[in-house]
């Protein structure tokens, strides 16, 4: 994942075409030039590299938390309560003697999976609504876009909270609620893209040659509309993780024993003046996830604009 990011980021058009058309030798040469360019590019942007590395680490935590944290995040041991960070417990222990580092690792997993779920929901539903509105036009467009406008005027956090109050509490419900609040943004962007593409000659040609609407949408419109939409999705991940952490902080997310970053910050509040590590490490982890995703998303955005 991080590798593809740095790759597209510094990929030049000339290298791409040489690779596509050239003989094997040239191709190898082009590939080497490309890797060189990518390395030079990342060296010039140390922050992007750091962001990619951090995100890679966090993704590894998500995929295999057991590999990185050997201690049980739920195991309580009152005799080891509130130990400060040290060699045995990297991030210290909480009031029940649970190892904070493994709670952070497992909590990151919960938060990240929920964030990805929220963005996926917003992306899919928003794209379908936006594509329908943009392609079909007429009253469907009118109705859908009015609904979207109305959803936009309600602040996202408030909308998510209202949805959570119906769905009930829990990490999945919080993710769904945050996803619903993200739908209007995607619907707008996709609709604008579809309107732009709809007028292009190749779509007109497909319509004239008698292709069916679903085929045109899938073959011609979706592939051409996807780059800006995917950039928006990348930009949204950080925001979704933040919102989910905020909702969990307020107490609507994961139920107590399960580790979740926002909930951990909330639990640490009771020991704010004595055990700084309880709030600092989970909070810092969230902040860095948000910073890294936004850093990478902006790099993607910029490379998309230049190509």
């Amino acid at each position: 994942m991080p590798m593809t990011v740095t790759d597209t980021d510094t990929d030049t058009d000339t290298a791409g075409t040489a690779e596509a058309t050239g003989a094997p030798q040239e191709r190898e040469h082009a590939a080497r030039a490309r890797i060189g360019a990518a390395l030079r590019g990342t060296a010039r942007r140390p922050w992007l590299l750091l962001a990619a590395l951090y995100l890679g680490l966090v993704l590894a935590w998500t995929v295999a938390p057991g590999v990185f944290a050997h201690q049980d995040p739920l195991l309580t041991d009152a005799s080891r309560g509130l130990r400060p960070p040290g060699a045995e417990h990297w991030f210290g222990t909480d009031n029940l003697g649970r190892d904070l580092y493994s709670r952070v690792v497992h909590g990151t997993r919960t938060s990240l999976v929920a964030g990805l779920l929220a963005v996926a929901l917003a992306l899919v539903v928003g794209s379908v609504l936006g594509a329908l509105a943009g392609y079909l036009g007429g009253w469907i467009d009118q109705v859908l876009m009015r609904v979207v406008e109305v959803l936009i005027i309600i602040p996202g956090l408030l909308l998510s909270l209202a949805v959570v109050s119906i769905l009930g509490f829990g990490t999945t419900n919080v993710a769904i609620a945050v996803g619903i609040a993200g739908i209007p943004g995607f619907a707008r962007v996709v609709r604008a893209e579809v309107l732009r593409i709809k007028g292009s000659a190749y779509v007109q040609a497909a319509v004239t040659s008698g292709r069916r609407t679903p085929a045109i949408l899938l073959r011609h419109i979706v592939p051409n509309a996807s780059p800006p939409v995917l950039v928006l999705a990348a930009l949204d991940i950080g925001g979704a993780v933040l919102s989910i952490a905020a909702l969990s902080f307020l107490g609507y997310g994961a139920a107590p024993p399960a580790p979740e970053l926002g909930a951990m910050v909330s639990q640490g509040r009771d020991y704010m003046s004595t055990a700084w590590w309880l709030t600092t490490f989970p909070g810092l982890t969230i902040a860095l996830v948000v910073l890294s995703t936004s850093r990478i998303a902006r790099a993607l955005e910029r490379s998309g604009v230049s190509s």
Binding site: L157, A162, V163, S165, I166
Partner: protein, 314 residues
């Protein structure tokens, strides 16, 4: 001008009606039964529910009637600015809101002012500072400010300035020194966003010929930025500032929880926890009304900042 404002206000009423309808539909169409959620108290999914108790509660709340009847009732109530009584406390929703409003207005006002001052200062600093590393440091700081979870910055501020240095009290509202930390925590994401948007349009404005002319006629760099470029760069930042107001009110939900302030935000969190739908609907209405009014105000200010903008009621 008066005509323009009137047309906009009527439009605003329609938007509000639509917002209420959508919130009504969301509260009724999203799968999930509010009554069973209330009875479980948000606890375990599998908890058993007493059937007769649920029916009684449903009848009490008027949730057993046909949806269209509930909807018409609801619209008629809101038209008279009557938001009913709270499910959880039985108080008038209007009175509950009125009690919580002053504290939040104080907090939101202070943090908007802070966001405005710091945001403009950071944008100007990011364009004007003499050496490049310093400029990019300011720029990075704005990006970081925007990415920090506000509940966490609130706690860090408490740890450092309240428990560590003892400069400010940790909790409570009413006093000025109790306002400083929450206002700052709430303003921080906005500062970052505002500084980035304003900074970008400032740099665009600085490349314009009129700035070069002003510089050629002897204006200092500071004067060129603050007098000539800032006004021309202000429009996108004003739009953003209007949007930020809604965000700050939503952010108050978290900030008031962290600093134990009894305002609209705390009320919202409690209402969600208690599944208190009348209060939630009133809050959505309030947020919608705020959005409509703020946008109108921003639109009315545009021509004052840039005389080329003419207001037309379309």
């Amino acid at each position: 001008m008066t005509r323009y404002v009137l047309v906009r206000l009527v439009n605003g009423l329609f938007v509000l009606w639509a917002a209420l309808t959508v919130s009504f539909l969301v509260l009724h169409l999203v799968p999930g039964d509010p009554v069973s959620v209330m009875l479980r108290g948000g606890g375990g999914e599998g908890a058993a529910i007493d059937g007769s108790l649920a029916d009684e509660l449903r009848a009490d709340l008027g949730l057993d009637r046909p949806v269209h009847e509930q909807y018409l009732d609801f619209v008629w109530q809101v038209a008279r600015l009557d938001f009913g009584t709270s499910f959880s406390t039985g108080d008038e929703v209007g009175a509950v809101l009125a009690r919580a409003l002053p504290s939040t207005l104080e907090l939101a006002g202070a943090s908007l002012l802070l966001a405005l001052v710091l945001g403009v200062a950071a944008a100007v600093a990011a364009t004007l500072l003499p050496n490049a590393p310093l400029r990019s440091a300011v720029l990075s700081a704005t990006v970081v400010g925007n990415a920090l979870p506000s509940f966490w910055t609130g706690i860090i501020l408490l740890q450092v300035f309240s428990f560590g240095l003892g400069w400010f009290p940790a909790y409570g509202d009413g006093e000025f020194d109790q306002l400083v930390l929450p206002a700052f925590a709430l303003a921080l994401p906005g500062v970052g966003l505002l500084a980035q948007v304003l900074g970008r349009s400032l740099r665009t404005a600085l490349a314009e010929p009129y700035v070069r002319t002003a510089r050629a006629k002897g204006a200092s760099r500071l004067r060129a930025v603050t007098v000539h470029a800032l006004r021309n760069a202000a429009i996108p930042a004003m739009t953003l500032f209007g949007l930020m107001i809604g965000g700050i009110v939503a952010g108050a939900i978290v900030t008031e929880t962290v600093f134990a302030r009894q305002g609209i935000g705390r009320l919202t969190a409690d209402a969600i926890g208690a599944h208190d739908f009348p209060v939630i609907r009133a809050l959505v209405f309030l947020a919608g009304a705020l959005y409509v009014l703020v946008n109108l105000a921003v639109d009315l200010i545009y021509p004052k900042v840039d005389p080329r903008i003419v207001l037309r009621s379309a």
